[in-house]
């Protein structure tokens, strides 16, 4: 790399990182938090014996998983104004990503809940707990442990998928990179730099996952 290339790399490093800290990460965190709550509700609906509830949940998961995220994003941002709902880029992105995480994480949470042995429910019942209390106190803490690795996967995918929000005008890591690349015409350099910075973010998140797993594993033999 010649010295002007190196200089461009250094000059653009912090603007791109700031695009990540101010755009990518808050977008991913907000969408993930909302998405997980949604996913828990959908997972419980799918497990429920009520056919209407489980049918609705099944349909939702099927639609989310069966359509491209980019299309979901465009329907919400560019499509909804046609029916009189006009949303700014940020709310549009958060809604689309939350719905997407909700669909994928619902299956993870459902599987994690079902992986807890039936005897744990019965033990909750025999000490007098309702099914709601048993779920909250006994089942979900154990399901959480099982679901951390796959949910971390979902989160890391989400961090990278937020780059799609650049296409609906959200200022995040990738959009900042695009602007610098267009201005400098150094596409290779700037997009590799963007890739590097995504990777650094994901390394930090992965170490967070490991710490969380260690904490949740304290009650199992290793």
């Amino acid at each position: 790399m010649d010295s002007s290339g190196w200089q461009l790399f250094l000059d653009s490093f912090w603007p791109i990182v700031w695009g990540g800290l101010g755009g990518t990460i808050p977008l991913a965190l907000a969408s993930f938090a909302i998405g997980i709550v949604l996913a828990l509700v959908v997972a419980l609906m799918r497990i429920s014996k009520n056919r209407v509830l489980s049918g609705v949940a099944r349909f939702y998961v099927s639609v989310i998983r069966g359509t491209p995220l980019l299309v979901q994003l465009f329907v919400i941002f560019y499509g909804m104004p046609a029916v009189g709902i006009v949303l700014d880029p940020w709310p549009s992105a958060i809604i689309a990503f939350s719905l997407n995480v909700g669909g994928y994480a619902a299956e993870i949470i459902r599987a994690a809940i079902l992986s807890v042995p039936k005897g744990q429910w019965e033990a909750g019942y025999t000490i007098g707990m309702s099914s709601g209390t048993t779920l909250r106190r006994i089942i979900l803490p154990q399901a959480a442990r099982v679901s951390v690795p796959p949910l971390s996967n979902t989160f890391i995918s989400l961090v990278k998928d937020t780059s799609l929000a650049s296409l609906i005008l959200v200022t995040e890591l990738f959009r900042v990179s695009e602007e610098i690349a267009a201005f400098s015409q150094e596409f290779m350099l700037i997009y590799l730099e963007a890739a590097l910075i995504y990777w650094l973010f994901c390394l930090v998140l992965s170490s967070g996952q490991s710490a969380l797993e260690r904490r949740l594993d304290r009650y199992v033999a290793v």
């Binding site: 005897g119 000490i127 154990q142 442990r145």
Partner: protein, 285 residues
């Protein structure tokens, strides 16, 4: 029993349906012997086409130990689970002294099931301890979360119970760090901490290594000697003989024969009982 008699009944339950704790952590509340605690009449249950219980009658008096024996698939465990609301019979009546009285043919309400569960506590074959809680947390979970016992009192009570079964030093251990026998003793303490009127044991030693069976049976025997009312499903016939006041032999969803242990084990009236005992006691003949 009329409401006024109920008021004067010295054995009556407290508001939560349980008797107040006595000084000795393992001792059940003082009750006159022979008072009937539980009557079950005509309990029937099918799983799909498979009829597992065909009209079971059962009476348990306070302080009595009733042991259910019989081959696998005979319905003993289903009887036990029905008493704790883990199975719902298709028909029949369960009548606990002091309530509730449940008629399964008419369907039972959530409140009815809750009231029934309040009267008994189950010790499972696979202990079913909560793996994400320490021994102490396992034991106080029911008293603190469900019965709203003040935490400090629940802890003191749990510590006394753990001491009685020799597990004081395991108070802060997680279940995975215990042996099978220790896990099952914690399972028993978890049930005891609820101060139930009735303890239910579902093959409590069947999942244990042979050398660990004794320590668990010893605890159950002590509880029986101290006057706890219990219904026990077991394959340990020697233990059944020592601890039981009444033995029920079940086969094919019916009670084939019932009586005092010495009669059932030495001089069974029914051919089916005799064949079952022979198979277990002399498997090679």
């Amino acid at each position: 029993m009329s409401p006024s008699e109920f008021e004067q009944d010295p054995t009556r339950s407290d508001a939560a349906g349980r008797r107040p704790a006595a000084g000795d952590p393992l001792a059940p509340g003082a009750t006159p012997d022979d008072a009937v605690l539980l009557t079950a009449r005509g309990i029937r249950k099918s799983f799909g086409e498979n009829e597992v219980l065909r009209s079971i009658d059962l009476e348990v008096r306070r302080g009595e130990v009733v042991v259910l024996i019989g081959p696998s698939g005979s319905g003993k465990t289903t009887v036990l689970r029905s008493l704790n609301g883990l199975e719902t019979p298709d028909s029949g009546v369960l009548d606990f002294d002091g309530g509730p009285e449940l008629d399964f043919a008419a369907g039972i309400t959530k409140q009815g099931r809750v009231a029934m569960r309040d009267r008994s506590a189950m010790v499972f074959q696979q202990h079913n301890l909560f793996p994400h809680m320490t021994v102490l947390e396992n034991v106080i979970e029911g008293p603190v979360r469900v019965q709203r016992v003040p935490r400090a009192r629940a802890i003191a009570d749990a510590e006394a119970l753990l001491e009685r079964v020799g597990l004081s030093d395991k108070r802060d251990a997680y279940p995975f760090a215990l042996s099978g026998g220790q896990q099952q003793r914690v399972g028993i303490v978890r049930a005891l901490a609820l101060r139930p009127d009735l303890l239910l044991f579902d093959e409590p030693t069947s999942a244990l290594d042979p050398e660990l069976v004794g320590e668990v049976l010893k605890v159950i025997k002590e509880l029986a000697d101290e006057g706890w009312t219990m219904v026990v499903v077991t394959h340990e016939l020697g233990f059944a003989r020592q601890v039981a006041d009444e033995v029920l032999f079940m086969d094919g969803g019916v009670v084939v024969e019932r009586g005092a242990p010495k009669d059932i084990f030495t001089n069974p009236a029914e051919e089916r009982t005799r064949r079952f005992l022979d198979r277990i006691l002399r498997p090679l003949d």
